[in-house]
């Protein structure tokens, strides 16, 4: 899932400036942080504004906060062990990959009593990548869907088919990441988005090649800004960004196509080499506290699995189909799974063929 990248850049700048300024004072701070450190690795712009300060104040644990932009960028860093993080927030299929490769350790849930606030259905979905629910605690969740501009698209949008409609030549924005792009084609063809069958993937590739002349650009973060700026009529986007774009441009509407889509989770996990496991569990527990989960939701606008936070939301938000889609539609959706190195190689090869065509 990609977040607000420009803000992230700005935030990174600010953080680098302030941390340069505070470099010396940090070391004298051992009195202020009697309970040691927790090293957090999270998506950029993916936490409420004063949540870290609150955590430090209440627990006496110092937070070292680091950010990544893609799952793929995060993985080699954790795998190499160059930096030992305490708690990380990857997405579903990446959690599975890390678990299968022995990079994670089970969470001691006696230290995470607030888990009771996480809705049971979300834990059920999480079994797709964490069968025992022993390695991960859901943080944000959502879908992938079509964001369209009501002033530029006349007909009702309810299917992926519109992304192949020649009428919208040069008005379509696709996701520039392998799994997301293929998921669209796979769902249109009524395949599983975890398909590893070569003929199915070849069919999806051909469909994407057929679509290419209609696509204005393959982008990740820019979908949000380009849709807000009326640069395109239709874009494939994460549900969490949809709410934000609607605040900025009231003509935008988000739908989950009827063929189904990708249901994704970003969950907290503890890497096997975490130096401060207890503090990591304290962090996860804190993130599950209803008021904190609400603060996070309020700032990043990604869907929360926290029932306590949902109680704090107003009616309008709870009925918002972007945040809480219909049960029936969700049944059509699938969670990404890690497909193993061989299938990954096929996906990469076919994706390159699409892009170089």
């Amino acid at each position: 899932m990609t977040k607000r990248n420009y803000f992230f850049l700005a935030a990174a700048l600010v953080i680098s400036f302030t941390s340069a300024g505070c470099g010396s004072s940090r070391e004298d701070n051992s009195g202020r942080y009697p309970n040691g450190q927790v090293i957090v690795y999270n998506w950029g712009e993916y936490i409420g504004e004063d949540v870290i300060a609150k955590f430090e104040e209440e627990t006496g644990i110092q937070v070292i906060y680091d950010m990544f932009e893609t799952n793929e960028e995060m993985y080699p860093k954790v795998e190499s062990g160059a930096v030992a993080y305490d708690v990380i927030c990857p997405s579903d299929y990446m959690i599975q990959k890390m678990r299968e490769n022995g990079l994670l350790q089970p969470i001691d849930f006696s230290n995470v009593p607030n888990l009771k606030y996480i809705g049971s259905e979300y834990l059920e979905y999480s079994r797709a990548f964490d069968p025992e629910n022993s390695y991960s605690v859901p943080y944000c969740w959502g879908t992938v869907g079509i964001l369209y501009n009501k002033t530029m698209v006349e007909e009702p949008v309810d299917s992926w088919d519109i992304l192949w409609d020649p009428k919208y030549k040069n008005e379509i924005l696709m996701q520039k990441s392998v799994r997301d792009a293929f998921a669209v084609a796979e769902k249109k063809l009524d395949f599983s988005l975890n398909s590893t069958s070569e003929p199915e993937l070849a069919a999806a590739r051909d469909l994407l090649i057929e679509q290419k002349p209609l696509v204005q650009a393959y982008v990740i973060d820019q979908v949000r800004d380009m849709m807000i700026g009326n640069e395109a009529a239709i874009g494939v986007i994460y549900s969490g960004e949809a709410l934000y774009t609607q605040e900025e441009n009231e003509n935008l509407e988000y739908v989950i196509p009827k063929e189904g889509s990708n249901l994704w989770f970003d969950s907290w996990v503890i890497p096997a080499n975490a130096p401060n496991k207890k503090n990591a569990e304290a962090w996860i527990n804190f993130m599950c506290r209803p008021d904190i989960a609400y603060d996070n939701f309020d700032y990043i606008t990604y869907g929360t699995p926290n029932t306590g936070a949902m109680e704090m939301m107003d009616e309008e938000l709870l009925e918002n189909p972007v945040l809480f889609p219909d049960e029936e539609l969700l049944e059509e959706c699938e969670v990404f799974q890690y497909l193993g190195p061989d299938a990954e190689a096929i996906y990469d090869e076919y994706w390159m063929e699409v892009l170089s065509e």
């Binding site: 793929e72 650009a217 640069e231 990469d348 063929e353 892009l355």
Partner: protein, 276 residues
């Protein structure tokens, strides 16, 4: 005395040697090792021969084509400019060179992002064209936008060496040519142009090679629709997490660069031999 001199020379070169070994030699060896092995660590040429496949070949040819075109455009823009600068008075000359270097003070990424904003469908340029009742310009996300980005970003690297080289030509040489009855045309083609070859060569190298390997410009201005060889290598290292293929492709690209430098150097030596 001699030993002492050598020692001090070695000491002075020391930091550079350490730098070279740590950041050039060792990484280059690692690229070689990665490029010639597969994931299990067994020796293979597959990573190199992969380039013969359709998608890869297409990207390589496109990269070669676009970077050549950009180099030619840069040269066509720079040479007349450098000639004009040569004939100007000192004060104005300095100012004009300054104007061309000024954009380089800003970050390369920001300048390229700015081009995106300018060229977008509802961008600044199209808004102006629209205001004047002219048809809109649709080059964003096409190879044309990438060439524009390359020319814009690499132009100073062509102007400076060409300008420096032209400035070094002694006026007496030109006056002598005129004295001996050469007309303006002959003076240019038989005296000025051959004397400026080293500058052209170094400018061509400094534009062609970064243009051949760029992936940022094609990413930002190509909208992901135009895949250059640099993009493929970048993707192999990041999203595909396959350093072996990425290194293998880099090795092949290095061969292409070495060939072009060898060809250029040959001309350069000839040029210098004639000139001085």
């Amino acid at each position: 005395m001699k030993i002492k001199k050598n020692l001090s020379k070695t000491l002075l070169a020391g930091p550079y040697l350490v730098w070279m070994i740590a950041f050039t030699i060792i990484p280059l060896c690692m690229v070689g090792v990665y490029g010639l092995t597969d994931r299990t660590g067994v020796f293979t040429m597959d990573n190199l021969t992969l380039l013969a496949q359709r998608g890869y070949m297409k990207a390589l040819l496109l990269s070669l084509g676009l970077s050549l075109l950009s180099t030619v455009i840069c040269l066509a823009l720079s040479y007349p400019l450098a000639m004009i600068l040569r004939s100007r008075g000192n004060g104005r000359k300095g100012f004009m060179v300054f104007l061309f270097i000024l954009p380089m003070w800003m970050n390369f990424l920001l300048r390229t992002l700015a081009w995106r904003t300018l060229l977008e469908k509802n961008g600044v340029i199209n808004a102006l064209l629209d205001l004047m009742g002219l048809p809109s310009l649709q080059i964003i996300n096409t190879p044309a936008a990438i060439v524009l980005g390359m020319v814009y970003n690499f132009l100073p690297f062509m102007i400076l060496p060409v300008y420096n080289c032209l400035m070094k030509i002694d006026n007496d040489v030109i006056n002598a040519a005129k004295d001996l009855g050469a007309n303006a045309f002959q003076t240019f083609f038989r005296v000025i142009l051959p004397l400026s070859v080293p500058g052209i060569i170094s400018g061509v190298t400094m534009v062609f090679i970064p243009a051949l390997t760029t992936f940022v410009i094609s990413d930002l201005l190509g909208g992901g629709k135009v895949l250059l060889i640099g993009n493929i290598i970048e993707q192999k290292f990041t999203t595909a997490n396959n350093w072996h293929v990425g290194s293998g492709l880099s090795l092949v690209l290095m061969i292409f660069i070495l060939i072009s430098m060898a060809v250029l150097n040959k001309y350069d030596k000839n040029g210098e031999g004639n000139a001085f």
